[in-house]
């Protein structure tokens, strides 16, 4: 019962944050709503017994990734969103898609609500996760390190100063 109450409380915070992300016009407010969503999702993971995932969610998602977002928003001095003509396809298809999704969700809740997840039934502590990660999933884990390396190099190349990656502009500046 306590599990259900906690799920509903954090779920409500999650839903409110997600809606607020769409409604806000300033990107920094959207970013803060996204942090609220991620923090309450970490609480949901704890309810499911995923301790390691909850900790990583707070540290990596709400910490590292969102700091990067806020940093870029500050760096580019992003102001309030300009209102322009929205996509016509989104207007035409949006409402039927929303209704379809709502019907599917109601159907899922009413017809398949028999199986329940007990609080902390699966204990995902760092030790167990680490053993699994370095035995069964060693190759994917090593591949992600290459992915991270490529991402770092890509970020440095893309966000580097233009004169470093653009020889023509460099030459033009020397001529001037």
């Amino acid at each position: 019962m306590v599990h259900l109450i906690l799920f509903l409380a954090f779920g409500a915070v999650c839903v409110a944050g997600a809606i607020n992300l769409i409604l806000q016009t300033h990107p920094i407010q959207s970013a803060l709503s996204l942090i609220v969503v991620m923090a309450s999702l970490a609480a949901e993971y704890l309810l499911l017994g995923a301790e390691f995932v909850a900790a990583v969610q707070v540290i990596v998602y709400a910490g590292a990734i969102m700091v990067l977002f806020v940093f870029v928003i500050m760096l580019l001095n992003a102001g309030t969103e300009e209102v322009t003509q929205g996509s016509k396809i989104a207007k035409v298809l949006g409402l039927p898609a929303l209704l379809l999704l709502g019907v599917l969700m109601v159907w899922a809740v009413t017809h398949h609500a028999t199986t329940s997840v007990a609080a902390g039934s699966l204990y995902g502590d760092p030790k167990t996760i680490g053993r699994l990660l370095f035995n069964q999933y060693l190759l994917p884990f090593e591949v992600t390190s290459i992915l991270i390396l490529i991402a770092i190099m890509g970020a440095v190349v893309l966000a580097g100063r233009p004169e470093m990656s653009n020889p023509q502009a460099n030459a033009a500046r020397k001529d001037a």
Partner: protein
Amino acid sequence: MVPLSYYLVLSAFLFACGVAGFLLKRNIITIFMSIELMLNGVNLSFVAFAAQWGKLSGQIFVFFVMVVAAAEAAVGLAIIIAVYRTRETLNVDRVNLLKL
């Protein structure tokens, strides 16, 4: 005891909010945040199914999704900075030409 479908409904709602934000927002950074919201929604269903079937592989997959999201955020934000340098706007409607 919380039914599995409750978690899946919350996950679907977060994903739908992400899709809606992706389609409705005009600021490129907010669009990017909507993608992160979609990834978070998928992560929740991964963890819920992991608890349902008693297999930790779902949580490992969440770990990999987070790694990919971090890499995507780093490269994507670098692209946003590069776009802002050349166009001096963050509005996606104004970024409609491949060549300046």
